[in-house]
Symmetry: C2
Subunit: 297 residues, 2 copies
């Protein structure tokens, strides 16, 4: 069972990597420095959790794998751009990401800024270049969902709240608001877009998927906070312990490690509950849920 999931995960990751390899402008295409930096920031990077969620959610609606590859890649491009910008000196000022120097360290700040800007544009360009749904109207809606999830009422907005919260004491409700935007919005849309690639789901089904993706988005962040507190930089591939060092409110700082772990388990349970009517088509989503909760990096 574990091997089966590992094979599936590897297959998804390879598909995304191959697709990105072809999609990203070649290193020798002018402006070469920018294109080299875009490739540096995106390729061979990370666990591709959001794409895994898109692929798994696509199984709920019997979605075509090629369509899901496109939406999963677009979501990953938005995620990659956000990491490049978040690592900049005026934001988190971090020098390590995915076991490599961050983009502005390997290149320079101006290039990293343009890398992020260009990756965002590329995500939206990509979503117009392939047929992604049975109707173009649905495809337009999907593009709108991603744009909204990325913007000031989604991920970028959560980042703004995060910056404003440094050194402050947040309530659990405020912390949840921040993470629902900063991390949750993009995870949510990764799931929803994957599901939208296939046959139409009923409103009740879409509500279940929506509920699932909100649980898993929050669970992802709770586990992220636990790992930042418990793991080492070598294991994480990014600087560990920086939340405490930066005096950032986290689930661990508010709840403590033991209760934060309880919350993660509770969210895992709620995520499973939301999927209960999908039967075996939700097998991969359950596995990805376990993977997110149990990951060590």
């Amino acid at each position: 069972m574990i091997t089966d999931f590992q094979d599936w995960t590897k297959g998804c990751q390879t598909r995304i990597e191959d697709f990105l390899q072809k999609l990203l402008p070649a290193q020798d295409q002018p402006p070469t420095n920018l294109h080299g930096a875009m490739r540096y920031a995106v390729l061979e990077g990370g666990k591709r959790v959001r794409p895994l969620l898109s692929f798994a959610a696509g199984e709920l609606s019997g979605a075509d794998e090629e369509r899901v590859t496109v939406v999963a890649t677009a979501v990953e491009l938005i995620h990659a751009y956000s990491l490049v910008h978040d690592d900049l000196p005026c934001m988190d000022n971090d020098i390590l990401r995915r076991g490599k120097y961050t983009c502005h360290v390997e290149y320079d700040e101006a290039t990293a800024l343009l890398v992020g800007d260009s990756l965002q544009s590329l995500a939206f360009e990509l979503l117009t270049q392939h047929c992604l749904a049975d109707s173009p109207q649905t495809q337009l809606k999907m593009i709108g969902h991603l744009a909204r999830a990325a913007g000031s009422r989604g991920m970028a907005g959560g980042q703004a709240v995060d910056l404003a919260s440094v050194g402050k004491t947040l309530s659990l409700v405020e912390l949840e608001f921040m993470h629902n935007h900063k991390t949750g919005a993009l995870i949510h849309v990764a799931v929803m877009l994957g599901a939208h690639c296939g046959k139409n789901l009923s409103n009740a089904q879409l509500e279940s998927v929506d509920r699932f993706s909100k649980c898993i988005g929050l669970a992802f962040q709770v586990v992220d906070d636990l790992l930042d507190a418990e793991a080492t930089t070598a294991t994480l591939g990014k600087t560990a312990g920086k939340d405490a060092k930066n005096n950032k409110p986290t689930y661990v700082s508010i709840l403590g490690i033991s209760q934060a772990r309880d919350l993660a388990n509770e969210l895992q349970h709620d995520a499973y509950e939301a999927l209960k009517d999908f039967g075996s088509t939700a097998k991969r989503l359950r596995q990805v849920t376990d993977f997110i909760i149990q990951r060590k990096f």
Copy 2:
């Protein structure tokens, strides 16, 4: 005639301003600091040259004014985001824009970064929320055009070349390559999207519009370089003389003022030529051309 054009211009600018006022998240919607900064960076700003080009190009295809308002606003959001990022310390490090402090001076660097990121997302979200063309397939193509024009093979790519060229001597061909991307790509798409909002134009007509928009994009930059060399900061509303100060190659530095002015006039002539088969439907585009060539700020 001049009054007629001034009235038309004022009408377009008011439509864009009103639309932006409603579109941008309210200042009291969380995260309030980010939303306030987005409004600061976009509202009451600039000549809205790109929207004017969209409205004028819309007349070539009898486009509906409400559709053009949407595409013009999206282009202006991309333009506004690029200004906020270009002004950052790691880029041009400028403190004045449109007669006000730049966004990172009025707020801070991190907020300005997120403002630009969020404005880009908002542009694409907007383009999915209204019917903009007779077929949704055309609308998807239009979104793709804007995304490509904004990205590494368009505006952001031109900015990367610009940064790499500081202190270097460029040939006229290299300078043209840079500006065709940095300024030209977005002006080009402003014209094309306006034209796409109406009835289908023939391929020959689209080629003419394409040729026109390339001429006007380059002309815009030549005049920009002339103004930077000749005008004062008070008139421009942004720092004058900074190209020479930053040792940036410009049309003025390569050609001298007199020949740069000749080039602007030549491009104006070519732009007129490209429009010759459109007759009276191109009246506004000719007027906007004159406005771009003769502007003093």
